[in-house]
């Protein structure tokens, strides 16, 4: 079976302005959401306690709310269904430092008249740890980007590195916008998902860039736009196929993986779609806008090659004892 059979290059670069505008519009929308509505930080980053309770049969959510309300230390606590009708999650900003006096134990005592239930999960994160985790999260994001920037500059050229990182920022920002839009709670797993998107989207971009690098060396015409069109079209089949397989598995994770990894798989779903789009329509035009010159690159490569040859010659002469 062949779906994307290469016949002639698509003319993508001539339409790059349109895609650029679309990306900018979505980016502005995403940034607007992030700065106005803001992230819904979960307990990992904000601190607090989460208690997951499963009832035998439908959970009496109103009774639970009433029971929780009787103790005013839990003011502002939220009670919601979790995945199914018999499970609920209680979230509160409270956290207790005392090992003996656990918020989970207290809630268990409060709920004892609401029916038969089992406390299945109690997560408590102190405020200090929360802010530490947040700092660590931001640091890890920046470090990953820095590492990638260095590696890509080393393997390609600095403009490739900047273009791929801009594409990354594009993808991660849009994914974050969607997280805000759908009110997904931001915990450590969402951070992991964002970092995975980083790696994944980069993967896609690198494959396209690798083809462009190859095109620069093999295609006679030094027009970057045409080289990009040719390279993107040549890799289009692979980009879509891999995205599809990844999309499939993430979708199964989203649908069957259980409530706990719902946010994680949702973020990945968005990331796969945006990452694929950006590696086809966004990353390469940036390369062009950054003023990458094919003939300049070729000259540099030629100079490099010449220098290496000279070095080899010198070494050969040295080894032969003529120097």
């Amino acid at each position: 079976m062949e779906i994307f059979k290469y016949k002639k290059p698509l003319s993508l670069m001539s339409k790059s302005k349109r895609f650029g505008l679309l990306s900018v519009a979505v980016l502005v929308f995403a940034l607007g959401l992030i700065f106005t509505k803001g992230f819904n930080y979960g307990i990992d980053f904000a601190g607090g306690t989460l208690i997951q309770v499963q009832y035998e049969g439908k959970a009496p959510i109103d009774k639970v709310r009433d029971a929780i309300d009787t103790d005013n230390t839990y003011e502002g606590a939220t009670v919601t269904f979790f995945g199914s009708e018999d499970e609920i999650v209680i979230k509160t900003k409270m956290s207790s430092k005392n090992l003996g006096e656990d918020v989970g134990d207290k809630v268990r005592a409060l709920l004892k008249d609401t029916g038969k239930f089992e406390v299945r999960r109690v997560d408590m994160v102190g405020a200090k740890v929360g802010s530490e985790l947040r700092e660590q999260g931001i640091m890890s994001m920046l470090l990953a980007i820095l590492g990638i920037l260095i590696y890509v500059s080393f393997r390609f050229e600095w403009r490739f590195a900047v273009a791929s990182v801009l594409a990354l920022v594009h993808d991660v920002t849009i994914a974050m916008g969607m997280i805000v839009l759908f009110g997904i709670e931001v915990n450590l797993d969402i951070l992991a998902a964002l970092l995975t998107i980083l790696g994944y989207s980069l993967n896609d971009t690198i494959i396209v860039f690798d083809r462009i690098r190859e095109g620069i060396n093999t295609i006679k015409n030094p027009d970057l736009g045409e080289i990009i069109d040719e390279s993107v079209s040549r890799t289009l089949s692979r980009t879509t196929l891999t995205s599809l397989t990844t999309f499939f598995v993430v979708l199964t994770l989203f649908m069957f993986g259980g409530e706990i990894i719902h946010g994680f798989s949702f973020t990945l779903l968005v990331g796969v779609v945006v990452g694929t789009y950006s590696s086809i329509f966004v990353a390469s035009p940036i390369l062009m806008w950054l003023g990458f010159s094919v003939s300049g690159y070729r000259e540099k490569q030629a100079v490099k090659l010449k220098r290496e040859k000279e070095k080899e010659k010198m070494r050969a002469m040295y080894e032969n004892g003529t120097l």
Binding site: T235, S237, T242, T246, F248, V249, F264
Partner: protein, 534 residues
């Protein structure tokens, strides 16, 4: 038939042999994990999958310093009493230093020499006959370090004595303690374990200030302090006691603690003091006959019996209307020693066993479904080339399991997600390679040439893509905590394993079966129509 077989022997190559070894290695070493057999190294399930308690504890090291100062004060008193040096106004100031005053000028040299000899790591400063004794900075630092190490050891001892399977207690960072206890069945058990860990188990024997004790109910804490006393509550009743702040002795001189029963068959704890403790205890009880001595545990008075006579032998009993389980846990805590500094919870995650089982079920389901989808898709799209890629994918999965088993790595829920994701991404290498091969076939290259060039053309792309993903995964591993580390780990292992299976392995398979590939059946072998084949 024989000839055909021979041709496959001839084309055997190091790549396919390497892949075969990797596959056998993968299957053999993942068997213990898959069958959950008793023998062999296997993957440990994370707390989120098997249920358990994960805690990050902080430590109040300033308390350890304060109690060091307190015991210094007790030592000073003991030394001076022993050497008959007359002193007055022995006080603790702000939990940082102790001050005292000598009454006889002739004692100064003897006192300073004695203190220097007996109390290491202290700095003594003198102003006339007034002295102040503080810890040196190095000693303070050492005390802090010691407090955390001691807390780690003590908590580990307590959990081990409680009879729990494989608890983990480790120092994390500079001043945090990581505690992981798998396999807790109920919330009640969890609560008991938490209390056992948190128990300072700080035992003190303190003298009751009989002269002023009558006024205790109206006395303020500040007033008590001005006499060098402290007010502590009774554990069961609202009664309060006025006690000398500097204890007669503390739990560090205890050698054993056991649960016993008193004459009315109530659980009590009997403990034994070491030689020094027994001597101090004997001397004290001999000197203060007719007065009361309080048994204080974690700043609560458990009993305050009258001293009827000198008590030798160093055997003491704590009674306090205990539940049997409470007495049992308390004896463990006393035996394993007091925490030099109290610990507090910074982060706590507890997962019930049923939730863990649910998580395993749902993520396994997702893994299987994702796997089946990808496998079917690859066969549908690439024909036999898809089958080859699938063989590599299966090899990859076994390798991940085998490597994780050998290292005894922990599989967490995000780790499962990492494996699921690897399934999606590991076939990527084969998609890239197959697309390259198809391209070359369309350009009219021979099958052998198309395969060889396809692999070499695809290599740089796969390499660069994998390295960048590895960079992201490494950062995630270095900065992530607990469960997230598991995700980064499985993804990294998956990527590394895929280099072997998806690149080397499939290449070897093609080279091996090359004589069998029919150039007239490109649709069957590579999923493309024959056209373009010149």
């Amino acid at each position: 038939m024989l000839l055909k077989r021979l041709s496959l022997v001839k084309t055997l190559n190091f790549r396919v042999i390497l892949f075969a070894f990797a596959l056998i290695f993968g299957v053999v070493f993942s068997i213990p994990s898959l069958t959950q057999s008793e023998q062999g190294k296997k993957i440990t399930l994370g707390l989120d999958l098997q249920g358990g308690l994960h805690m990050l504890l902080g430590i109040k090291s300033e308390i350890a310093i304060e109690s060091r100062i307190k015991s210094m004060a007790a030592s000073v008193k003991y030394i001076f009493d022993d050497e008959e040096i007359i002193f007055d106004e022995l006080r603790m100031v702000d939990g940082e230093k102790i001050t005292f005053e000598l009454l006889d000028n002739d004692d100064v040299t003897k006192a300073t020499e004695l203190l220097k000899k007996e109390l290491e790591g202290t700095a003594l400063s003198q102003n006339g006959l007034k002295f102040s004794l503080a810890m040196t900075e190095a000693e303070t630092e050492r005390t802090k370090l010691n407090a955390i190490q001691q807390a780690v050891d003590t908590i580990r001892n307590r959990l081990n004595e409680f009879g729990l399977a494989e608890p983990t207690v480790a120092k994390q960072g500079e001043d945090k303690i990581l505690v992981e206890v798998p396999g807790i069945k109920t919330q009640e058990d969890e609560q008991r374990i938490r209390e056992l860990i948190a128990r300072a188990a700080h035992l003190q024997l303190m003298a009751v200030d009989e002269e002023r004790n009558a006024r205790v109910s109206t006395m303020s804490a500040a007033e008590a302090k001005s006499y060098g006393n402290v007010i502590l509550p009774d554990v069961n009743t609202p009664e309060k006691y006025l006690l000398r702040a500097i204890p007669v002795l503390d739990g560090s001189m205890l050698t054993d603690a056991k649960v016993g029963f008193d004459e009315s068959n109530q659980p009590v704890i009997n403990f034994t003091l070491n030689g020094q403790g027994a001597k101090i205890f004997g001397d004290f009880t001999g000197k203060y006959v007719g007065k009361r001595m309080a048994v204080v545990l974690d700043n609560k008075v458990y009993s305050a019996p009258n001293i009827n006579e000198r008590i030798g032998g160093g055997r003491v009993q704590i009674s306090g209307r205990f539940q049997l389980s409470e007495a049992h846990d308390l004896a463990i805590a006393l035996r394993s020693g007091a925490l030099l500094a109290p610990v507090y919870v910074m982060e706590k995650r507890s997962v019930g066993p049923s939730l863990g089982a649910d998580s395993i079920r749902s993520s396994s389901l997702a893994l299987m479904l994702g796997f089946v989808l990808v496998v079917l898709f690859m066969i549908l799209y690439y024909g036999m080339a898809g089958v080859v890629a699938n063989v590599a994918l299966i090899g990859n999965l076994f390798l991940i399991l085998a490597i994780m088993s050998l290292f005894g790595a922990t599989l967490t829920l995000p780790g499962m997600a990492g494996i699921v994701l690897t399934v999606g991404m590991a076939v990527d290498a084969n998609v890239i390679i197959n697309e390259r091969i198809r391209e070359l076939l369309h350009a009219g290259k021979s099958i052998g040439k198309a395969i060889e060039d396809g692999y070499s053309n695809a290599f740089t792309a796969i390499w660069d893509a994998n390295v960048t993903t590895l960079i992201a995964a490494t950062v995630l591993y270095a900065y992530g905590t607990g469960a997230i580390k598991g995700f980064a780990l499985t993804m990294s292992i998956g990527i590394l394993a895929s280099m072997l299976t998806a690149i080397v392995g499939t290449h070897g398979i093609y080279q091996w079966i090359l004589p069998k590939i029919d150039k007239n059946k490109l649709g069957f072998w590579f999923g493309i129509k024959k056209e373009g084949n010149k």
